[in-house]
């Protein structure tokens, strides 16, 4: 599964599309940035409600190619600008973290529930 595959899913709106289309290696769901830094595997997509510049900084430091912002939390321009500079994709979704994690996990496992 690539980042562009996430973009093609109906649940997500892409708000930062100038990304390097990498393979999604896994997912990590957390709203605590220190926790993300400690435990997220490189190449994972970050599922969170934490929508601000620090999230991009952490994603960049740890090597996470995409951020999914849940519950339609607003994504401000400075976050989008920071992500564009780092080539990190940002998606928005009305779903919560649990639903989003499930959806991504199913796609990663190759058995999407429709």
């Amino acid at each position: 599964m690539n980042i562009s595959d996430i973009q093609s899913l109906a649940a997500f709106t892409c708000v930062q599309s100038e990304y390097n289309d990498a393979v999604v290696a896994g997912g990590y769901t957390s709203d605590l940035l220190s926790d993300v830094m400690a435990h997220a595997e490189e190449g994972s997509v970050l599922i969170t409600i934490q929508a601000h510049k620090n999230t991009v900084a952490v994603a960049s430091l740890v090597g996470l190619p995409a951020i999914i912002v849940c519950n339609n939390r607003p994504v401000l321009d400075d976050m989008i600008d920071a992500a564009r500079a780092e080539g990190i994709a940002i998606f928005q979704t009305p779903d919560n973290q649990f639903q989003t994690s499930l959806l991504i996990a199913q796609h990663l496992a190759g058995c999407p529930a429709r």
Binding site: D31, L32, L33, S34, D35, M37, A38, E42, Q50, H52, K53, N54, T55, A57, V58, S60, L61, V62, G63
Partner: protein, 310 residues
Amino acid sequence: MDNAQKEPLQSSLRVQELIYGLKISEVMTKKVFAVTRNCTMRDVQTIMKNNSITGVPVVDSRRVVGIVSMNDIMNALEKGAMDDVVTLWMVGEVQTLAEDMPLSFAISAFNKFSFRRFPVVNKKNELVGIITFRNINMALIRELSRQLREMESLHGGPPERSDSLDLVKVYQLHRYDFENGGKASSEIKKFLKERGIPPKIVRQVAVASYELEINLVAHSNGGMLSFDINADRIKISSHDRGPGIADVELAMTEGFSTANEWIRSQGFGAGMGLPNVKRVSDEFAIQSAVGMGTMVRAVINLKKEKKDEH
């Protein structure tokens, strides 16, 4: 250009960092003149006169129990009480500094208290020295000269290679400046990545430095983060100007945090910062004193033992 004008010169930051990196024991006067409880004010006056000093600690089996300053001598003189024992005129409850504290703590102490000198004690609380601003000025001059000599000897040497790993860089961080917290980490990460350092190590460095940056902006009154990199290891040091941590052991406990709502809204304050830094470091040290500041040093080795690479 704008940035260069707002920020102090890198060289002056480096000098500050060098000073901060010194220990109080390296800077203090080791030859201390002290008196015991049964000495008189006249004894102290004689000691001051003969040695051109203005403050004399009072000790009881090497523990500091008070200090007599020029001011106390004047008061005793005025009352014609120079034959009184020192305990009647000294100032008790003396603020002391520990010999293994970083010099930055002493600088904070001079800013916080109006004292002109601090007795320095060892781990057993015994008097081992005394520190005045003069000691700090001397250390500053010494370090400046050393820096200058270093710069001179580098000048005319081979031009810096772009793939060289050697780097000393200092970043200044301000309270609540989340905007710039993270700048240092991403610059250092890029520097290491460009030089082919293994991603696992780059990530360790990035995590340690980002957590320290966030600590500086979220919890300190401001401070600096410095990087000292060579082919063997990456040394990251963080020095701040307070407020200091009351219980370091507690602060190192995962889940403990003093963060306010605003810090939490920024995605931090989960009580994982310092434990995260320790976890990714090969060497870790923290020192803190309330009212003076906190120093954290993290070292990440570049030449790891093979057994570590699993």
